[in-house]
C-alpha cells in the first residue's frame, strides 16, 4: 500500500475537490453572473468523477487492493455504485436549480460549489472504512447541506429549515461522536476491520452503547424514525432543488454508510442491532405513512414519503445478508429515480406568476389542464406506493424477497401490510389530480431541463424500467459482494 495507489484510488474525490476549489475562485471573481457557467462545469466535474468510479463498479472491484490510506478508505464496487447514484443526484439538483432560483433572482454562484462539496463529503461517507473518515465525510456533507437548506436567505422558511437542520444535525453529530468514542474506547481502534475483530469475542455493555449511539447518529442522516423529525420541516422549507438533493444523494450516502458500518464493523454482532433496525424499519414505514396522510403541502408529503421509503430499505438491512444489501442498493436506485421525478413535477408546477405551487389543493384537477404532468405525477405516486407494473414495485419486491429468503417472514408480512397505509396518501395525490374539479392554478411553461429530468425518471419508473433489472441487478449484486468481501 503506497501513497500513489491511495491517491489513485481517491481520484474521483480529487477531481471534485479540485473542481470545487477552482469553481469557488471563478465564483469569487465572476460573481452571480457566472452561476450558470459554474453549474455547467460542476455537472461536468460530476460526470468526470462518475467516469472515474465506473470501472471499479463494472469490474467488481473488491478486496485489499481497493483499500487506501491504510484502511481508512475503500474504493470498491459498493462505494462506486453509491457514488454514481450520488453524482447523478447531485447533477440533477444542479440541472434543475437555475430555472427555480431565477424566479427569486437568487441563482448564486455558490450553489454549484456547495453541491460539489456536499458530493465530496458523501463520496467519503460511502468509502469510509474508518470511523474518522466516516465522520469527516459526514460533516463535510452536512455543513454544505446546512448552508444549502438556508440558501434562499430572504425566505423565512428556508432560513428556518437551515437553522433547524443545523441544530438537530449538531445534536445527531454529538450522538454519533459519542458512540464512536465509546466504540473506540472498547475496541481500541477506529477502523471498521479492527472493530469487527475486537468485537468478535463478544460485546460489553459499553460497546453495545457505542453501537446504538452510532446507529442513532446515522439514523438521523437517513431520517429513520424516531430521528426523522427534522425531515418534513427541512424538506418544506428548503428551496425545491435543494430538497431534491436532500431527498436523493444524502439518502444514498447515509444508507450506504449505514450498510457499511453495520456489515463491516458490526456485522458479527448483527443480533445486537437487528431488532433495533427492524423496529426502525417498521416505525418508519408506519410513521411515514401516517404523517403523510394529513399533509396538504406536497413537499412535506414527499418528506414523509421518504421516511416511509427509508423504512422499506431498512428491511433489507435488517436481514443482514448480501441479498438484503443488494436489494437495498437496487431500491436506492429506484428511489432516486422516483424522487427525482417527483421533485421535477413539483418544480414544474408554477402558478400564473411563476410562483411555485406546493399546496395539494391547488393541484386539483391537474389532469385536465396539464395531462402530461398529471400522468407523470400519477406514475411517480403509484411507483412510490409500490403498485405494479410501476418499477417502484420491484424495489419493495426485492427487499421483501430478501426478508423472506432470510427467514424474516413476519417482518415482510407486517411491512407489506403497512405499505397499504402508505398507498392511501399516494392515492390521495392521484385523487386530487385526477378526480377533483380543476383548480386551474398551474400555468406557464416548464423549464426544458425539468422536462428532461422528468421524462428520464418516468422512463425508469415506468414498466420499461424492468428492462434494467438484469443489468442493475448484476451491479447491485457485485456491489453487495464487494461489501461482504471486506469482512
Amino acid at each position: 500500500m503506497d501513497w500513489s495507489q491511495s491517491l489513485r484510488l481517491i481520484a474521483p474525490e480529487e477531481t471534485l475537490s479540485v473542481a470545487s476549489l477552482v469553481l469557488l475562485l471563478v465564483a469569487a471573481w465572476g460573481g452571480d453572473k457566472a452561476a450558470k457557467l459554474i453549474s455547467v462545469l460542476a455537472v461536468a466535474a460530476l460526470v468526470a468523477a462518475g467516469i472515474l468510479v465506473a470501472p471499479a463498479l463494472c469490474g467488481g472491484a473488491m478486496g485489499a487492493e481497493t483499500s487506501a490510506f491504510f484502511g481508512q478508505y475503500r474504493a470498491d464496487a459498493f462505494a462506486s455504485y453509491a457514488k454514481i447514484l450520488i453524482y447523478i443526484s447531485a447533477a440533477v439538483s444542479l440541472v434543475v436549480a437555475p430555472a427555480y432560483f431565477d424566479r427569486f433572482k437568487a441563482m448564486r454562484a455558490e450553489y454549484p460549489v456547495l453541491v460539489l462539496l456536499a458530493a465530496i463529503g458523501m463520496g467519503m461517507m460511502v468509502s469510509a472504512t474508518d470511523l474518522l473518515t466516516l465522520y469527516i465525510g459526514l460533516e463535510m456533507n452536512s455543513l454544505a447541506a446546512y448552508v444549502l437548506a438556508a440558501f434562499l436567505r430572504t425566505d423565512g422558511r428556508s432560513a428556518e429549515a437551515g437553522l433547524k437542520y443545523f441544530v438537530l444535525g449538531a445534536l445527531a453529530s454529538g450522538i454519533l461522536l459519542f458512540g464512536m468514542s465509546l466504540t473506540y474506547g472498547f475496541a481500541g481502534t477506529t477502523s471498521f476491520a479492527g472493530i469487527s475483530a475486537s468485537m468478535a469475542q463478544g460485546l460489553s455493555n459499553g460497546a453495545l452503547f457505542g453501537i446504538v449511539f452510532v446507529f442513532a447518529g446515522l439514523a438521523f442522516k437517513i431520517s429513520a424514525v424516531p430521528f426523522h423529525m427534522w425531515t418534513p420541516d427541512v424538506y418544506e422549507g428548503a428551496p425545491t432543488p435543494v430538497t431534491t438533493l436532500f431527498a436523493t444523494a444524502p439518502k444514498v450516502a447515509a444508507m450506504a454508510l449505514t450498510m457499511r458500518v453495520a456489515i463491516e464493523a458490526f456485522g458479527d454482532q448483527a443480533a445486537a442491532w437487528q431488532q433495533i433496525v427492524v423496529f426502525a424499519a417498521l416505525a418508519s414505514i408506519v410513521v411515514g405513512a401516517l404523517g403523510a396522510i394529513g399533509q396538504s403541502n406536497i413537499k412535506r408529503l414527499m418528506a414523509y414519503s421518504s421516511i416511509n421509503n427509508v423504512g422499506f430499505m431498512l428491511v433489507g438491512l435488517a436481514v443482514a445478508t448480501p441479498q438484503g444489501v443488494s436489494a437495498m442498493l437496487f431500491y436506492l436506485a429506484i428511489y432516486v429515480a422516483m424522487s427525482a421525478g417527483g421533485f421535477a413535477v413539483i418544480l414544474m408546477m408554477k402558478d400564473a406568476d411563476g410562483n411555485p405551487v406546493e399546496e395539494l389543493s391547488k393541484m386539483a384537477g391537474l389532469s385536465r389542464t396539464r395531462p402530461g404532468l398529471a400522468l407523470a405525477l400519477a406514475m411517480v405516486m403509484f411507483s412510490l406506493a409500490g403498485i405494479p407494473p410501476m418499477f417502484g414495485f420491484w424495489g419493495k419486491f426485492l427487499v421483501f424477497k430478501a426478508a423472506v429468503d432470510g427467514g424474516m417472514i413476519a417482518l415482510a408480512a407486517i411491512g407489506f401490510a403497512a405499505s397499504v397505509i402508505g398507498a392511501f396518501y399516494y392515492l390521495k395525490v392521484v385523487k386530487v389530480v385526477y378526480f377533483d374539479e380543476p383548480a386551474d392554478v398551474v400555468k406557464g411553461e416548464s423549464d426544458v431541463w425539468h422536462k428532461l429530468i422528468l421524462v428520464g425518471s418516468c422512463v425508469v419508473i415506468s414498466p420499461l424500467g424492468f428492462l434494467l433489472t438484469k443489468w442493475l441487478g448484476h451491479l447491485t449484486e457485485t456491489a453487495a459482494a464487494a461489501l461482504y468481501s471486506g469482512l
Partner: protein
C-alpha cells in the same frame, strides 16, 4: 398455430390501442377502443378454435427468461381459455355501454378500459407467479381511476375502499409467493402446481392466498368493498368488475390454492363452507331489501360467488366444473344485469327502484331481455345459471350435505330478490311519467344484449361446449386433490337394481 405468439398479441392489441386512445379525441377514441376490443374478440375466437381439446394441458406457451428467476411466461389451459373468452367477449360490450354515457375524458376512459383488458388477459395467461402478481395487482390502477373519475356521487370513498381493501389482501399473497419461490426454486406456475409443499407451511401459505382471493372474490365478510364499488362505478365498470375481475378470485383458488396446497385446502374447507353459507343467506337477504338496483345486483354477486367457493371446495369434479360454470355464467349474467340497469339509468339517471315501474308497457323488448337475464340469475333450467349452480350444489352435497342444504336456500332467495326487483321495475303501474316515457332499446343496445342473451342460452342448453375444454384440467385438479379430499357426509352410493323376479313375485303375491 404453434409458435405464433397469439397470447402476446392479445395482450398487445388493447395495450397499443390504450396508448393511442390517450392522444385521440372522443370520437376516434371510441372507435379505436371498439375496434381493438373486437379485434381481441376475433383473436379470442381464433384461440378457441385452435385450442386442442384433450391435447396438452398447457397450450400456446411462450417463455422468455427476463431476469433473476423471473420470466415472461404465458400459456393457457382450458380453465384459463374460458375465462379469457369471457373477458374478450365482455369487452366490446363494455365499450358499447360507454359509447354515449361517457362524455368527459373519453380518451382516458377508453385507455383505462383497454388497459384493464390487457391486465385481465395477463392474469389468466401468466405462467410465471410474479408475472401473475403484477397483472393481478396492476388491474387496481385503471379500475381505481375508472371508479374515481367516471363514477357516481360517492365515488371517492368507493374507489379508495376498492383499492386499499384489495391491495391489503394481495400484499400478503406476495409474501407467500416469495416464500414459495424461495422454497420451490421456480416461479413457473405449472411446476409449482405439482410441487408438494410441507403441509405445515401450506396452512400459512393458504391463508395468505386466501386473504387475497377472498377479498377479490369477494367472500363474506370481506365483501363490503363490492357494493360500494359497483354502485359508484359507471355501467361498463360494473360489468367488467362483476363479469371478470371477481372471477380472478375464483381463478386464483383454482390455479393456486387448490393445486398448490391440497392439504391446507382440505383443512380449511369447513371455513370456506361456513363463510359461503353465511354469504349465501346473509347477502341474499340483504339484496332483498335494497332500493338501489346496482346494490341489489352487487349483493347478489356475493351470493353467487359463494356458490363458486363451495363448488371449488367440494373436492370433486362436479363441484369444480360447476364452480367454473357459475363463474362463466355469472360473468355473463351479472354483466348483462348491470347493463340492463345501465340502459335505464342512461335514460332516467337514477338507480332507485321506486322511480321505475311498468316498463313492460313502454319498453317491452327491454323487459324481455331483462327477464331472460333475471331468470338466468335465478338459475332457471335452460339458462346458463342453472347448469353451474346445479353442479356446484351437487358437488358440495357429496362433501357436506348441510352446506348444500343451506346454500340451496340461496336459489330460493335469489328467485325472491330478483323477481321482486323485476316486478317493481318492469311490472306494475307506470307510476312515474318520466319512466313511462322512456324509449325502448335502440340498435346499439340490441347489439349489446342480444349476444349476451344468446350466450346465456347457449351455456344453458349446451354446456358441453364450455365443459369440454376444461374437462381434462378439472380431472387433473381432482386427481391432485384426491389425496387430501375430506370424507363427505353424504356417502352417496349407487342403489342396487331390484332383481326382476322379486318384482314379479310381489305381483303374484298380490293376487
Amino acid at each position: 398455430m404453434s409458435g405464433f405468439p397469439i397470447l402476446s398479441l392479445m395482450l398487445l392489441v388493447p395495450l397499443a390501442a390504450a396508448l393511442a386512445c390517450l392522444y385521440l379525441d372522443a370520437k376516434s377514441a371510441r372507435t379505436v377502443a371498439l375496434l381493438a376490443t373486437l379485434a381481441n374478440l376475433a383473436l379470442g375466437v381464433v384461440l378457441w378454435l385452435n385450442f386442442d381439446v384433450g391435447g396438452a394441458q398447457w397450450q400456446f406457451q411462450e417463455r422468455h427468461e427476463l431476469f433473476s428467476g423471473f420470466s415472461y411466461a404465458l400459456g393457457i389451459d382450458g380453465i384459463a381459455l374460458l375465462l379469457i373468452e369471457l373477458s374478450v367477449f365482455l369487452m366490446p360490450i363494455c365499450i358499447g355501454a360507454s359509447w354515449n354515457s361517457i362524455e368527459k375524458r373519453v380518451g382516458e376512459y377508453m385507455a383505462a378500459f383497454l388497459l384493464v383488458e390487457t391486465l385481465m388477459i395477463g392474469v389468466f395467461t401468466a405462467q410465471d407467479i410474479f408475472l401473475f402478481y403484477m397483472f393481478f395487482e396492476a388491474g387496481l390502477i385503471p379500475m381505481y381511476l375508472i371508479i374515481g373519475i367516471w363514477g357516481g356521487a360517492d365515488r371517492i370513498y368507493a374507489s379508495y375502499k376498492f383499492f386499499l381493501y384489495t391491495l391489503l389482501g394481495s400484499v400478503l399473497m406476495l409474501v407467500a409467493m416469495l416464500w414459495m419461490v424461495h422454497t420451490a426454486g421456480t416461479t413457473f406456475i405449472p411446476t409449482l402446481m405439482t410441487y408438494d409443499f410441507d403441509p405445515q407451511v401450506q396452512t400459512w401459505l393458504w391463508l395468505a392466498f386466501f386473504a387475497s382471493f377472498a377479498v377479490k372474490m369477494p367472500m363474506w365478510p370481506v365483501h363490503t368493498w363490492l357494493p360500494a364499488a359497483h354502485v359508484q362505478a359507471p355501467t361498463a365498470g360494473s360489468v367488467i368488475l362483476a363479469g371478470v375481475l371477481l372471477k380472478m378470485g375464483g381463478y386464483g383458488f383454482i390455479r393456486f390454492s387448490l393445486p398448490m396446497f391440497p392439504e391446507a385446502s382440505a383443512y380449511f374447507a369447513p371455513l370456506v363452507w361456513g363463510l359461503s353459507m353465511a354469504a349465501v343467506v346473509i347477502t341474499s337477504l340483504i339484496a332483498l331489501v335494497q332500493d338501489d338496483m346496482k346494490k341489489l345486483i352487487a349483493y347478489s354477486s356475493v351470493a353467487h360467488m359463494a356458490v363458486v367457493t363451495i363448488g371449488l371446495f367440494a373436492f370433486n369434479v362436479q363441484g369444480l366444473e360447476g364452480s367454473m360454470l357459475v363463474m362463466l355464467s355469472h360473468g355473463l349474467v351479472s354483466g348483462a344485469l348491470f347493463l340492463c340497469v345501465g340502459i335505464i339509468y342512461d335514460r332516467l339517471h337514477t338507480r332507485e327502484i321506486s322511480r321505475y315501474g311498468g316498463l313492460a308497457i313502454n319498453m317491452p323488448r327491454y323487459a324481455l331481455f331483462f327477464l331472460l337475464f333475471t331468470m338466468a340469475s335465478i338459475g332457471l333450467p335452460g339458462t346458463s345459471g342453472f347448469v353451474g349452480e346445479f353442479l356446484s350444489l351437487g358437488g358440495i352435497y357429496q362433501a357436506s350435505s348441510w352446506t348444500a342444504l343451506i346454500c340451496t336456500t340461496g336459489i330460493i332467495l335469489g328467485a325472491a330478490y330478483m323477481l321482486y326487483l323485476y316486478r317493481r321495475v318492469v311490472f306494475g303501474d307506470q307510476k312515474n311519467a318520466d319512466a313511462a316515457a322512456m324509449a325502448d332499446l335502440d340498435l346499439r343496445e340490441y347489439l349489446m344484449v342480444i349476444p349476451l342473451g344468446l350466450a346465456v342460452l347457449w351455456m344453458g342448453v349446451y354446456p358441453e361446449s364450455f365443459i369440454a375444454p376444461m374437462r381434462a384440467d378439472i380431472a387433473a385438479l381432482d386427481a391432485r386433490l384426491a389425496r387430501a379430499k375430506p370424507e363427505g357426509d353424504a356417502k352417496l352410493a349407487m342403489g342396487k337394481e331390484k332383481p326382476a323376479h322379486e318384482e314379479a313375485a310381489a305381483h303374484e303375491g298380490a293376487h
